[in-house]
């Protein structure tokens, strides 16, 4: 039932982007979000938007999924854009009423912030639509590895992340079962005052936590029986492979940056 959760928002289409190394995808998408802040003009935003659109199309994921990523934020976006339009000043004044005014700068800034929203959301959506959560967790582990030298328990954190991911669907099922059992005993969820709703959660959450602790106990025993004695020095079954395509992707991103700077400083 909850395979949806397990996959995160992953949509398997096996596109070029899907096949990139998760480390490359993670780093490049974060990097892209950073360079979005360099955009400051029509040309720069247009260039980044064109690139983002290209990436979106090459994922072969239906556009509807990107819209799903934007939809929950629509109100915030509109709110921010409207504030930006009404409260910035400068340039030609088209309309004014008290402290509110619509100015040339306001409109331009409104459009820019709108673009920034869309670009950030779309690029991070590309990451989650084309990469399984587990892969991202692997990538994070690989990228944080140098921190192990600073005594950050990278291996343990990575193991925690992977075990948490592994148990989310199991506990999700469990929560459903507990909810059914308590509803059969007359609990009514989602009705009544806030206090009443909060109270109705206690018969669900306590058994859920207890179940989690019991599972932790069992799992710890099972892991120890299988020879687990700490993260240090374990060999790894799941390896990440850096391919030529990943290097190419990095070069492409470099090109995008160069053009961006070109547009920013030459124009």
């Amino acid at each position: 039932m909850f395979s949806k959760v397990l996959f995160g928002r992953f949509v398997p289409t096996n596109s070029l982007i899907h096949r990139l190394d998760p480390r490359a995808k993670l780093v490049l998408s974060l990097y892209f979000i950073v360079i979005i802040f360099m955009a400051n003009s029509w040309q720069t935003y247009a260039w980044l938007a064109a690139f983002t659109l290209g990436v979106i199309l090459s994922t072969k994921v239906p556009l509807k999924f990107f819209w799903d990523g934007i939809r929950p934020l629509v109100w915030i976006i509109l709110f921010t854009v409207i504030l930006q339009i009404f409260f910035s000043s400068g340039g030609h004044v088209y309309w004014a009423w008290g402290i509110l005014s619509v100015t040339q700068f306001g409109l331009v800034n409104g459009v820019y912030i709108f673009c920034r929203f869309l670009l950030i959301i779309c690029m991070s959506t590309v990451l989650t639509l084309t990469t399984q959560p587990l892969m991202i967790a692997d990538a994070v582990e690989a990228l944080l590895k140098p921190l192990a030298k600073l005594k950050v328990p990278v291996y343990e954190l990575a193991l925690m992340l992977s075990i948490a991911l592994r148990f989310v669907p199991t506990l999700m099922d469990e929560s459903q079962k507990i909810m059914n059992a308590q509803r059969a005993r007359g609990v009514n969820f989602g009705t009544g005052s806030l206090i009443k709703r909060v109270r109705s959660l206690i018969p669900i959450l306590i058994p859920l936590f207890i179940s989690a602790f019991n599972r932790a106990e069992d799992l710890a025993t099972a892991m120890e029986a299988r020879g687990y004695s700490g993260g240090e020095g374990r060999s790894k079954y799941r390896l990440l492979h850096w391919h030529r395509a990943d290097t190419v992707a990095c070069v492409v991103m470099l090109g995008v940056t160069l053009i961006l700077f070109e547009l920013r400083y030459l124009a």
Binding site: R166, R215, R226, R234, S235
Partner: protein, 279 residues
């Protein structure tokens, strides 16, 4: 030659209180033997099994595995010889996917990547789960998860396999599958097997049965010796095998039944002979 497992005067209690969960248990298991430990809920079976794997430390007594005494400094070596499958299929699945889970034990032993891939493939093949290598546990049935657990054990080439009620959360089909699979694997690898159960049917393949009641070892012997009326299985929370129950019932109806232990097939044969000879 030494025994595979020897347990000498094992005593255990969980807290400091007087309640002993194991009371002076002594037994041994030969190399290649299949031994079943039976007993009611809470009789101490799991505690005994965990002690054998060094997962908990006896209050007093000694355990020796393949000639090595279990102690602080030998416990990891000893665990390498023992594969353990637990009751709840969900709570022992460590990896994010089937293949990852089978590899978990190998990773702990620093096995190289290439060797690991080969071993994982082979183990999955042996439990007929190769088609599921990349699947996540959420989509598997309980029986399939237990087969993965078995694959994880086999990939390590243990000398001893312990199944602690490994089938008790499965449906009957799943149970039979796991027991049958275990039998095939034992024929291939000849490990020593310890199964823990309160289902008498699951002792069908055992060479020897140990009966535990409230922490005491109250009977040990071949199925013929233990699974008869004489050992008060019913008083100890268990059940007699079906054939034995039928014979008892016939006896109550004043039919003379043979005194020795019989399997289902033997009972059928005996009854049919009796029917035909009385024609």
């Amino acid at each position: 030659m030494h025994k595979m497992i020897t347990v000498q005067d094992a005593v255990y209690s969980y807290s400091d209180d007087e309640h002993l969960v194991l009371k002076n248990i002594t037994f041994d298991v030969e190399r290649g033997e299949w031994v079943s430990i039976v007993g009611h809920n809470g009789s101490g079976k799991s505690t005994m099994a965990k002690a054998i794997d060094g997962l908990l430390k006896l209050t007093s007594g000694a355990i020796e595995i393949d000639g090595t005494a279990l102690a602080e400094d030998t416990v990891w070596k000893i665990r390498e010889k023992i594969g353990f499958v637990f009751q709840n299929p969900d709570n022992q699945f460590v990896g994010a996917t089937v293949a990852d889970d089978v590899a978990f034990g190998l990773e702990n032993r620093h096995v190289s990547h290439d060797e690991m891939v080969a071993k994982v493939d082979e183990a999955l093949h042996l439990v007929h789960m190769e088609a599921f290598a990349d699947r996540e546990p959420a989509g598997l049935s309980g029986g399939q998860k237990q087969r993965v657990a078995l694959a994880g054990v086999i990939a390590m080439r243990p000398e001893i396999v312990i199944l602690d009620e490994a089938t008790s959360m499965l449906d009957p089909e799943g149970r039979q599958e796991i027991m049958q699979l275990m039998r095939e694997l034992k024929q291939t690898y000849d490990f020593t097997v310890l199964t823990i159960t309160h289902d008498i049917d699951e002792t069908a393949f055992a060479d020897r049965i140990l009966l535990i009641d409230d922490g005491e070892l109250v009977a040990a012997g071949t199925p013929e010796q233990v699974l008869t009326n004489g050992t008060d299985l019913v008083d100890r929370g268990l059940e007699l095998p079906y054939a034995e129950r039928l014979l008892n019932q016939l006896n109550l109806l004043h039919i003379d039944v043979p005194q020795q232990y019989m399997t289902n097939d033997q009972v059928v044969k005996w009854l049919c002979q009796k029917l035909n000879s009385s024609k």
